[in-house]
């Protein structure tokens, strides 16, 4: 159980790291939104799943299971809040006229 938790947390940290590197490397506002808003969803889900599993490694009892359920609720809230806030920031950027890096509007 501990090994599984460590694998989950390390994978989550890896995705957080790529998100941060992307924030530093990408050329413009929208691409940086892509990197930070998104690396976080999977990173947070994996790290929190790892924590929930690690919490159970002493054995299953009602309080530890409840704590794990609460940790997974944090993941659910992130999954609802993260796209909403990413969308809000991107839309306000578009409304204020921040120019995208390559301005190709493809109509398909």
């Amino acid at each position: 159980m501990s090994i599984l938790a460590i694998i989950f947390i390390l994978t989550g940290v890896f995705f957080f790291t790529t998100a941060t590197i992307g924030l530093l490397r990408f050329p413009d506002f929208y691409c940086r939104m892509q990197a930070t808003g998104k690396g976080d969803t999977l990173g947070a889900l994996l790290s929190l799943t790892g924590l929930a599993l690690y919490n159970l490694h002493h054995g299953f009892s009602l309080p530890t299971i409840l704590v794990s359920i609460k940790i997974m609720f944090i993941a659910i809230f992130i999954f609802v809040a993260n796209p909403t806030s990413t969308h809000a920031i991107t839309k306000s950027g578009l409304d204020c006229g921040v120019e995208p890096f390559t301005k190709e509007e493809v109509i398909r």
């Binding site: 890896f14 995705f15 790529t18 998100a19 590197i21 992307g22 490397r25 990408f26 050329p27 413009d28 929208y30 691409c31 939104m33 892509q34 990197a35 808003g37 998104k38 690396g39 969803t41 999977l42 889900l45 009602l62 309080p63 409840l66 359920i69 609460k70 609720f73 999954f79 609802v80 993260n82 796209p83 909403t84 990413t86 969308h87 991107t90 839309k91 578009l94 995208p100 890096f101 390559t102 301005k103 190709e104 509007e105 493809v106 109509i107 398909r108």
Partner: protein
């Protein structure tokens, strides 16, 4: 009917968050859940009646979540490879495309799914047209292939 469902959901939340199962705390929970249900019963569920159609929708939505997680995982690996590639072969573009979805709830689900999938952000929906910022050609093509749209349409019975 919606009173009962709202009450049961609230009480389940109370039990999970309090974690104490003695009579005193449970009765406090029942009282506060009844009060909150009475005040907010029209917020959580807009409809008055429930039919088997809505249960089918819920089941299909739950089936949709694992596919969405798998999709998020795949495209997150794609974005990570873009970030770590020294040449950084990104091709950002603003895509505009028409959707066949009509209901508000399916539009919201589709827009949030697009934003959750790394590489694409829904910027705006104007009169059934999605404005999506895509990071590379691969994610844009995946989106325009329309598999996610078809699945969302299938959940809310618009296909």
């Amino acid at each position: 009917m919606r009173y009962i469902i709202t009450f049961l959901l609230l009480f389940l939340n109370w039990v999970i968050w309090s974690g104490m199962l003695d009579a005193f705390h449970l009765s406090l929970g029942v009282i506060s859940c009844i009060l909150v249900t009475y005040m907010t019963h029209d917020i959580l569920f807009k409809r008055e009646k429930f039919s088997s159609k809505h249960i089918v929708e819920v089941i299909r939505f739950i089936k949709y979540i694992p596919w969405l997680l798998y999709q998020i995982f795949l495209s997150n690996i794609h974005v990570a490879s873009l970030v770590l590639n020294p040449k950084m072969p990104i091709k950002p573009e603003l895509i505009r495309f028409k959707t066949k979805l009509k209901k508000d709830i399916s539009l919201t689900t589709f827009a949030n799914s697009i934003t959750l999938t790394p590489g694409t952000i829904t910027a705006d929906i104007i009169e059934g047209e999605f404005y999506v910022h895509a990071l590379s050609k691969k994610v844009a093509d995946d989106l325009l292939a329309g598999e996610m749209e078809n699945r969302v349409a299938h959940i809310f019975m618009e296909d």
